[in-house]
Subunit: 319 residues, 2 copies
């Protein structure tokens, strides 16, 4: 049925482990084990092993390692020439398939704070990094229902103290940042407000908070000020607390990840104790989540790569 153009199935064992082929291919194209590893985003030892195992499997010497540089043997050249063609065909076929059929949309759910304070300012970069992909950002307090494909990606903050965010089954995650949590205020506010020497001095200020003072209490306790009676405006999202601080409404406890831009522009100032610097601590971390079975799908993988690069590039002052 429908198999006119093809003969019988090639023997199952007629093809070496594919990972080994890819490693060999990459090393051959790029002329080096470590270069190949970089391109494939693998450890160089893995590539080395794959090539060895391919040689073992075929029982042939494909590369020459003698001059501490990797060169192909005659057989290696010939084999690579043909293998590479096969790999290209698979890659192109897959790419073409997914170019059609609305695989050009990537729905990213995330916390409202992450959306407005980090993702939106970088949306141009995202679109450059993911050409031809329509990015759909959905700030939400709830996680998407991955089973119903409500979203491709979800980005959430998982607190270290308190209940730690449940990752649903069949959903894979990776932690891309554990930002420091720091007290911030506007320069204008600080000029007219009582000075802060140590943690206990925060009682004299309006402390901007989200649902509860829990984060503030944890932070104060870690800096030697237990059980203070604090007060201040309640604002339900991280970006609102930051905006309130910018407007001089008091001191917010912002995570450095979201506040970085405002700090860089001078809209906010990190408050350091005059007696001793407040030690930077993290109270949680950001996770990226996606269905396990779509984890390596191209749009998702591309976004993850971009996110990773953007985070490490722009904010490696994160604790």
């Amino acid at each position: 049925m429908d198999s006119e153009p093809f003969g019988l199935l090639p023997d199952r064992k007629a093809i070496p482990p594919f990972a080994a082929l890819r490693a060999f291919d990459a090393a051959a194209r790029l002329g080096g084990v470590r270069k190949a590893a970089r391109a494939l985003q693998l450890d160089h030892t893995v590539v080395s092993r794959h090539i060895r195992s391919l040689e073992s499997w075929t029982n042939l010497v494909l590369v020459d390692r003698s001059h501490s540089r990797l060169t192909l043997t005659r057989e290696g050249h010939e084999y690579h020439r043909r293998i590479a063609q096969g790999i290209d065909i698979l890659a192109e076929a897959t790419l073409d398939l997914m170019k059609q059929h609305d695989n050009r949309e990537l729905t990213i759910w995330c916390t409202p704070g992450f959306a407005s304070k980090w993702l939106l300012p970088r949306l141009g970069d995202v679109e450059n990094a993911l050409p031809g992909l329509a990015v759909d950002v959905r700030p939400a307090d709830q996680q998407p229902d991955f089973n119903r494909h409500e979203g491709d990606i979800d980005i959430r903050y998982s607190p270290t103290y308190g209940e730690p965010l449940t990752v649903p089954a069949n959903v894979r995650h990776f932690e891309f940042s554990s930002p420091a949590v720091i007290p911030v205020a506007s320069p204008a506010y600080l000029e007219q407000a009582p000075p802060i020497h140590r943690a206990s001095d925060f009682v004299d200020h309006p402390l901007i908070h989200e649902e509860s003072f829990e984060n503030w209490q944890t932070w104060l306790a870690s800096h030697g000020a237990e059980e203070l009676e604090v007060s201040g405006p309640k604002l339900w999202h991280a970006h609102l607390t930051i905006d309130a601080a910018i407007q001089g409404r008091g001191i917010a406890l912002a995570n450095h990840f979201l506040a970085a831009d405002a700090l860089a522009q001078g809209d906010l100032v990190e408050i350091k104790g005059s007696d001793e610097d407040f030690e930077r601590i993290s109270l949680g971390s950001y996770l990226l989540m996606a269905r396990s079975d779509r984890w390596t799908a191209l749009p998702i993988a591309r976004f993850r790569d971009w996110l990773n690069a953007a985070v490490t590039a722009s904010l490696n002052r994160n604790i």
Copy 2:
């Protein structure tokens, strides 16, 4: 370097998991999940899952399962057409590579008994099943040094009682038979010898044995005759004990696997007690061994498949 014909490396994540591609390809070519599974020597559930995961990965529907028959969708057809070409290229390239370069020799080490009583009579079958492959049979008491590639395959008998044959590291094995061990003699011998009603009657006969009477003692003990004083000719290989029995020199304790041909031709007779049949027991099993990293290499995989088929086809009366 040497990459004139090729562009840059295809994105690592631009190709779905290869196992999934193969499963989809096989199901498409053969028109069914179970057929594909048979061809790939996998469980059908595995193929089913692979196809599902491919659909998840691409986020597309590739097959239609609605009429309890598997049909390809339009996208599925188009994708399969191109994928299949890539897979064929990889298979052909590998096959061509290994056809040259003396990968056409398969060195099989084995016990002398296995060589002369089982493998040699079937050597024609082997050569039919492995076209273009020169088979080199090396009967030996020692195992080959796999590290030095002294042999591709080794076939040994591992006793259940006594020391159980050590499999070296990085060597994989599989057990293809646990033959029954049975007392045999020639018809001519039995005519003139005292009758055997029960196990203890064996003391009246010359018992042909290999290095020691250990097997005989174990066998007799399992059949209710402990600590008998036995005697008979010592012959150091399994095939010699069988040949001695054929020549009427006494009773041999042969494993059914090696004696099957002689039994079928009437050269030997299995001795059954006249009071009650001796229960058939196994005292060990045959293992096939090969380097782990060459386990799925084509010549070795082919030989394993042939061996498996030959064993189950001709001798499923093995216990």
